[in-house]
């Protein structure tokens, strides 16, 4: 059975054994597991930082960072051939904040190439195994971060969530993952995929640890023009008595696994036992979210990824003039799914199709956001399944892109609206974890984290470990 350590347990270990020993054990576990959860390990630097750790809320605590977050001096690839060998000359804001609090960066985690995927199978560095079942995917795109947590390799990790990329792998690997409100966490140094949708999100094995990590990385940053001037404190306890919970029927749609559905309803009844009241609510534009999300994400991707031309960084193929050289560089450097999204995004933005696809999707975003605004006039929180089913088999969906996109049906509306949501373990199906999604109002991370914490305390799903009975 794999053992996990929460942040408080890690801190107690550090007090007696030292931070360098804690870091050393992480590397041992990574080697032993061999889940392919990391692309780059930061061994020498991490041990040296740990030896000199001397203060902060995360003093000496090891953390894994998704490989699309810029780390000064540590290779950052976005799991793509095109960025292999790229060493960022600066840190993302979240990395500066982690270092300020004494955290030790263990390495960079595997992911879907440029965060485009739901299974972490599109990585140039190979797929990641789900620690609960090595034949299953860990979810994506932050699959390496989730597998590292579930495999007991690290107590904390950062992911990024554009359409569910923190919550899906958290659900599939039985850990906690938060997608913060758009604008809550600085995106400075996050290599953009779809910048109007994505947020860097904390991942951990307990809700309290995820909340602590959120409190460390959140807050205004002048280097991100979409960062908001707000202060976040999620530590104040919440009284569940009389809390109003909405359960959107549209999130229990066709193709939903019946055990997942039952686990989520049991969670709703647990909240009732804790003193909350629930009602079913309708979010009528949910069914259009997936198409609108993919059109917007692909359109933004086609623009954001135009910067990868091999001239200033990354893979470079030389042939003829600029156009020929760029086209060859990108043909060799990008994988299949990235090319598909660039092509679809370019098509959706091209003359004659802009209004039909892109503009229409932006209008649907307004309608989806209105659904949430209207729901939060009545309810304090919404509950839904994170994913319609548990982790699927490696190779099961990768050849049919549309079927893979459909897996994101319950996570993408949250990114379109910009509201926060956290996934926590709420059951098991066939020895694979099931995730519950708690969705909050804009900038109300506190309510969903405190409620998730109460739910966690009233259940034992978070105490189960891969390999245990």
């Amino acid at each position: 059975m794999i053992t996990w350590q929460s942040v408080p347990e890690t801190k107690r270990f550090i007090e007696t054994e030292g931070a360098a020993e804690a870091v050393h054990r992480c590397f041992e576990r990574i080697k032993q597991n061999d889940f392919n959860s990391f692309i780059t390990l930061n061994i020498e630097d991490a041990l040296s930082v740990a030896e000199h750790a001397s203060g902060g809320r995360l003093c000496g605590v090891p953390i894994a960072i998704k490989d699309n977050i810029s780390t000064h001096g540590i290779q950052t690839t976005c799991a793509s051939k095109i960025l292999t060998g790229y060493i960022p000359p600066y840190n993302a804001t979240v990395i500066e904040r982690l270092e300020r609090e004494g955290a030790v960066i263990i390495g960079k985690t595997n992911m879907d190439e440029f965060a485009m995927g739901t299974s972490t199978e599109t990585s140039y560095y190979g797929a990641v195994e789900n620690p609960w079942n090595g034949r299953c995917v860990p979810g994506g795109s932050s699959g390496g971060s989730a597998a590292a947590l579930a495999g007991g390799e690290v107590p904390l990790a950062l992911g990024s969530d554009t359409g569910g990329s923190v919550r899906c792998p958290a659900s599939f690997c039985g850990v906690v993952g938060l997608k913060p409100t758009y604008g809550a966490v600085s995106r400075y140094g996050l290599i953009s995929y779809a910048n109007s949708l994505e947020q860097i999100g904390p991942m951990a094995t307990t809700v309290a640890d995820a909340a602590l990590l959120f409190n460390v990385v959140a807050g205004y940053d002048k280097r991100d023009s979409t960062s908001v001037k707000k202060q976040f404190d999620t530590t104040e306890p919440l009284d569940m008595k009389g809390m109003k919970i909405g359960v959107p029927g549209e999130y229990f749609g066709e193709g939903m696994n019946s055990v997942v559905e039952k686990a989520v309803w049991n969670a709703v009844y647990s909240f009732e036992d804790l003193g909350a009241e629930y009602k079913e609510v309708s979010m009528p534009h949910t069914k259009y979210s997936l198409a609108a999300y993919y059109i917007i994400a692909m359109s933004e991707a086609s623009s954001n990824l135009a910067r990868f031309d091999g001239l200033r960084y990354g893979h470079h193929a030389e042939e003829g003039d600029c156009h020929t050289s760029f086209s060859k560089t990108r043909a060799e450097g990008f994988g299949d799914e990235v090319k598909r999204r660039i092509l679809l995004g370019s098509y959706a933005l091209s003359a004659g199709y802009h209004d039909k696809y892109y503009l229409k999707a932006l209008k649907v975003r307004t309608l989806v956001k209105k659904d949430f605004e209207s729901a939060f006039k009545t309810y304090d929180m919404l509950l839904a399944p994170t994913m319609p089913y548990p982790a699927f088999k490696l190779g099961e969906k990768i050849k049919d892109p549309l079927s893979l996109y459909l897996a994101d049906v319950n996570t993408v509306p949250i990114n379109l609206a910009g509201v926060p949501a956290v996934s926590v373990p709420c059951g098991f199906e066939n020895k694979l974890p099931v995730g519950l999604q708690l969705i909050g109002d804009f900038f109300d991370e506190k309510t969903i984290l405190q409620a998730a914490h109460k739910f966690e305390n009233s259940t034992d799903f978070h105490n189960r470990r891969p390999g245990g009975e």
């Binding site: 259009y288 001239l311 960084y313 090319k339 660039i342 679809l344 098509y347 649907v364 910009g418």
Partner: protein, 92 residues
Amino acid sequence: MITTSDIEHISWLAHVRLTDSELKEYSEKINPILEYFGTLDEVKEDVDAAHHVLDLYNVWRDDVPSEMLSQEEALSNAKEIKDGHFKAARIL
């Protein structure tokens, strides 16, 4: 319905060279996705487009220099540099 020649044109626009077999495969796999995107035609409500979800309009800062990368740092990942500049292929 998107054709192989449409894909060829888009790949030229997007600077991604495709092989003949890729052109064929993308044409086959992209059409069902576009068909799915077409479900948005059912939405008849005309509302404002949301380019992002925040109540932000213009974001200003004072026009003063701040911390920036040195020339050496900016060039540190380039495969080809000449006289302190990025070296690019000819344009014409």
